[in-house]
């Protein structure tokens, strides 16, 4: 009602005007009827009715929603101001758009990775079942979330009462290619109730149900994701019913999940889900379903409505002891003790599970803090600009205040313009963020790690943007407006008429803003230097092997259908022929490629005593150390003597010798590997001592590492790896592919350079170094522009004073000194505050740093010196300009 009136105000006004006119006519006619002269009659009628405009205004006011009307007028006024000064508007909107865009992009990613619940019904009812505290499992550990074994899962499924639905899932890479170049699909083993528990409905066909997951299933069905359906089948409904070959085994596609469903792992998306019972069908003798020490499943359940999480945990704990006792693997005593002491607990899984989250949550929060600071610095600059403009209008404002305008009214009007800028900047920033966040996600993906993040604008993102807009508007709009109206009109009029020197008090806020800018940018520059230093430390760290010119080839025998003995033989043949190819300088077989994230470890026994340290283990062929240029310090490399049936031998590293032999040369000594009770403990003779080299991660320190000959490895892997030393990657891969083809067309090979692998393993460090460097540089530039602006303003405001000084005999150098002193005070204050803030802030980043202390004095000193130099240069320009002033000109001007 009120609004319809509001928008029809002018029509109403016309009506009333006509009505009042009619009233006057009738009254006049009556008056004439009473015997007045026409002119007199009209005047009497007018007198009686009163001021027609006033009546119309009264009615207009009834129709007006006061605040809306005046705000609307203020906005129109603001828009006019912006149009008058498009340069300022563009700079302001662009800088805000950049700031808001960067903030929103990072927040959007955080929202998707950390904050948002899984897109399924009632995600808050979901809990994950885990063994609390224990991530040190012995045996085969596979997939991205190895939490439980299948035997534990089956017992849990059959005995639990806490969940209305519960499911297990494991991740697996399926090979789609029949031979030659590899084509991987993201696969999931899922138990029967996976889709029912998550309450996912099919787009086409049907999803897997409990009946699909019965032990021994023969022709297993497969469910594909929406993305995979679009990619591989063009979204055709006829995909359902087709067969698909995964690792050379055929599955029938029965249905497609909706586009919004990506599984329960945030940061990944699945392609194909097959029932867990198909695992033996796929892996035959290597099946993990009945292996007591094969960890490859994660379990999520939906709590019954009257079961809080604590009750479920208590329930799981009572089930756990029997479950673990019944499924005890053939472990060494130490492992057995640990296993039997394990228990189970329910953890909230509303937001799903995620490796991306654990890796990137704190870097993202840190980046968000960084971008917020950049935005603050940019806002401070805008605030300074707005202050300058308000100063230019101070007489106008003073006149209006003197005429009785309320201060709030003027503040509102001055703020309207900034509100428009903030709104436009934030809207542009929100758009920009859509692109930036996709760029960010794309930069998180590596060849091995296909990152999928469902980026969507939800209420959190929108409120975040609104908060940014409001916050920025407060800083650069309201604050200067309040400041501009805070003078007594009389003083402003006087000061405005003829400025001599500027009062410190009026200039205070601008100084404060510059000090804050310098301080904040120092924090960001220190952060950037720390991350850059950290990255440099990791990259230049001694890994114990070179990563230049090393090619890693993964040879997948899964489709070749060879026996273990034949795989070994074929692989040896392949290696021999490869070594004869011209571009290949050296090549070797390796079980665990360094820094690949894979690992294998054992406990060892020395003189009959089982040591508690885990020893990393690798199985390599002869010439591995040559290929990787790892220096042998003593003893010999593996060679033809160390065959499968020969006496067991090992090459160990310096750390191994240090930890277990007190640093003495261990060549010739023997040790045993702790095997399960009842199993023979083979005796290894140490034949060589190699230099330390990194194993799982470049960031870790050197740890004891043992190498055994690949020929003596305990099991034959279906995917074998080769490291090849070559100067010409392209020719080598071509040659190798040709060799592989002549051996068997069903072998699939994947190539990757060691350098790429190292680069990917340092993704987080590179990202932090790049982005913090970018933001740090940006912050410094903005702050310096701010300083320059304020110093120029300082000079302009004090022209008269400078003119007088010069007229009285001050020379140019003195003027420069005066201005520079002013700047130095600001910069010094900023750097001091910034140094303290930087020391405090760096502590939060300490876990992300490698080889640099968060309070590294050299870094801090470098940052301070750098900023101080640039700041000096920036303030020298206005100082120089001040010294060029012609005293007579400066004094004659107003």
């Amino acid at each position: 009602m009120a609004f319809s009136r509001f928008f029809r105000r002018s029509r109403w006004d016309d009506e009333r005007a006509r009505e009042l006119e009619a009233h006057l006519e009738i009254e006049t006619a009556d008056n004439i009827g009473r015997g007045m002269a026409p002119k007199e009659a009209l005047e009497a009628a007018r007198r009686k009715l009163g001021n027609v405009t006033r009546i119309r205004e009264d009615i207009y006011l009834i129709n007006t929603i006061g605040i809306v009307d005046s705000v609307w007028r203020d906005l129109l006024y603001g828009a006019r101001l912006l149009r008058l000064n498009p340069g300022f508007a563009i700079v302001a909107i662009l800088s805000l758009a950049l700031g808001v865009g960067a903030n929103t992009a990072i927040f959007q990613l955080l929202d998707a990775v950390r904050l948002r619940a899984l897109p399924v019904t009632h995600p808050e009812q979901l809990v994950e079942v885990r063994i609390p505290g224990n991530d040190n499992r012995s045996g085969a550990v596979m997939g991205r979330h190895p939490v439980l074994t299948n035997l534990l899962w089956e017992r849990l499924r059959d005995r639990q009462q806490a969940f209305s639905g519960v499911f297990a899932w494991g991740s697996i890479g399926f090979e789609l290619s029949a031979g030659g170049e590899s084509r991987e699909a993201e696969g999931l083993w899922v138990s029967g109730d996976y889709f029912r528990t998550l309450d996912v409905q099919p787009v086409v066909g049907r999803l897997l149900v409990a009946d699909d997951d019965r032990r021994g299933c023969a022709a297993p069905p497969a469910v594909i994701s929406y993305g995979f359906w679009q990619r591989e089948y063009g979204g055709s409904p006829s995909a359902v019913g087709r067969a698909i070959s995964l690792d050379g085994h055929s599955y029938d596609i029965v249905g497609v999940t909706p586009a919004s469903f990506f599984g329960v792992e945030v940061g990944r998306s699945y392609d194909i889900a097959v029932p867990l019972c198909a695992e033996p069908y796929s892996r035959a003798s290597r099946s993990s379903l009945d292996r007591k020490d094969a960890w490859f499943l994660a379990v999520i359940g939906r709590l019954k409505s009257d079961w809080p999480s604590e009750k479920a945990t208590a329930h799981l704990r009572t089930l756990a002891s029997d479950m673990f006792r019944e499924t005890l693997p053939n472990y060494s005593p130490e492992d057995t003790r640990e296993y039997l002491a394990s228990t189970l607990a329910a953890f909230p899984a509303q937001t799903g599970v995620s490796n991306l989250r654990s890796d990137y949550e704190s870097p993202l929060w840190l980046l968000l803090a960084t971008t917020v600071l950049v935005l603050l610095i940019a806002c401070a600059n805008l605030a300074n600009l707005m202050l300058a403009r308000a100063t230019a209008r101070e007489r106008e404002i003073a006149v209006r205040l003197a005429l009785g305008a309320s201060r709030g009214r003027i503040v509102r009007q001055l703020t309207a313009e900034s509100l428009l800028i903030a709104a436009a900047g934030s809207a542009a920033g929100a758009l920009l963020a859509q692109w930036l966040s996709r760029l960010l996600v794309a930069s998180l993906a590596t060849e091995d790690d296909r990152v999928f993040v469902a980026l969507a604008g939800d209420w959190r993102v929108f409120s975040f943007i609104a908060l940014l807009a409001a916050g920025t508007c407060m800083i650069f709009g309201v604050l200067p407006a309040i400041r501009a109206t805070a003078t007594s009109p009389g003083a402003a009029m006087k000061a405005g008429s003829r400025g001599t020197t500027d009062s410190r008090e009026r200039f205070g806020l601008r100084r404060l803003l510059v000090v804050a800018q310098v301080a904040l940018s120092l924090v960001l520059v220190v952060g950037a230097l720390l991350f850059a230093g950290s990255l440099r430390n990791i990259v230049t760290t001694d890994a114990g092997f070179t990563h230049d010119a090393i090619l890693v080839a993964t040879v997948d025998f899964r489709r070749a259908g060879l026996s273990d003995a034949n795989i070994t033989l074929t692989h040896a043949q392949l290696l021999e022929r490869l070594r004869r190819q011209p571009p290949v300088q050296d090549a070797a077989q390796v079980r665990v490629v360094p820094v690949s994230g894979n690992f294998s470890n054992r406990r060892i026994v020395i003189d009959g005593v089982e040591r508690k340290e885990n020893v990393n283990r690798n199985a390599v062929s002869d010439r591995y150390f040559k290929t990787m240029t790892t220096v042998m310090l003593a003893g010999r490399d593996f060679d033809a003597r160390d065959g499968a049936t020969a006496a067991k031998v090992a090459v160990v590293t310096e750390s191994f010798a240090r930890v277990f032999y007190g640093g003495q040369n261990p060549v010739g000594r023997t040790f045993q590997v702790a095997e399960a009770p009842g199993q023979p403990r083979p005796i290894y003779e140490i034949v060589g001592l190699a230099r330390d080299s990194k194993y799982g991660d470049l960031r870790e320190s050197f740890e004891p590492l043992m190498f055994v000959p690949a020929a003596q490895d305990d099991q034959v892997a279906l995917t074998q790896r080769l490291v090849i030393r070559t100067a010409d990657v392209a020719r080598t891969t071509a040659a190798m592919t040709a060799v592989v083809r002549t051996i068997s067309p069903s072998i699939v090979v994947t190539y990757r350079t060691m350098q790429a692998q190292v680069r990917d393993s340092l993704l987080r460090e590179r990202l932090m170094a790049t982005l913090s460097g970018l933001f740090g540089g940006l912050a410094a530039v903005i702050a310096i522009i701010g300083l320059y602006g304020v110093m120029s303003y300082f000079v302009v405001r004090r022209r008269n004073e400078i003119g007088i000084r010069m007229a009285l005999g001050a020379d140019r150098r003195e003027v420069v000194r005066m201005v520079m002193r002013e700047a130095a005070i600001l910069v010094a204050a900023g750097l001091t505050v910034g140094a303290v803030a930087a020391l405090l802030a760096a502590r939060t980043a300490s876990t992300l740093l490698f080889g640099v202390k968060p309070y590294d004095p050299i870094t801090l000193a470098t940052a301070i010196a750098g900023l101080a130099i640039v700041a000096t240069l920036a303030s020298y320009v206005p100082a120089w300009r001040a010294s060029r002033l012609e005293p007579t000109v400066a004094l004659r001007e107003d």
Binding site: W12, A22, I26, A29
Partner: protein, 107 residues
């Protein structure tokens, strides 16, 4: 004139039949034996307010002496409002009278 009573008087006047602003003003003055003087300046905003609340509606018509004028008519909601306001007025008058002329019998 008492605050708020103008609305009541306008409604009462319109209860007798549609009228334009001029008529309403004179009707109120005449029927109060010229005790109540309607300020024409406040009449029209009051009419506007009543129409806005949906108690009266307006239309353009022709006056007794053939002039275009805006006529007002009571709506059913306005009629209800008139009854309610009249009751309220009566209560108010009774209450004020009780204070001004207390019943002598009580002592």
């Amino acid at each position: 004139m008492l605050q708020g009573t103008l609305d009541l008087l306008i409604l009462k006047t319109l209860a007798l039949g549609p009228a334009h602003g001029h008529t309403i003003a004179y009707a109120i003055e005449r029927r109060s034996d010229d005790v109540l003087q309607v300020e024409h300046g406040s009449l029209y905003p009051a009419l506007h307010r009543l129409e806005d609340r949906g108690w009266i509606t307006s239309f353009w018509g022709t006056s007794e002496n053939n002039r275009r004028a805006r006529y007002y008519r009571l709506t059913p909601a306005g009629r209800k409002q008139l009854t309610a306001q009249t009751t309220r007025w009566d209560e108010l008058v009774r209450a004020i009278n009780q204070i001004l002329k207390p019943a002598t019998s009580s002592e």
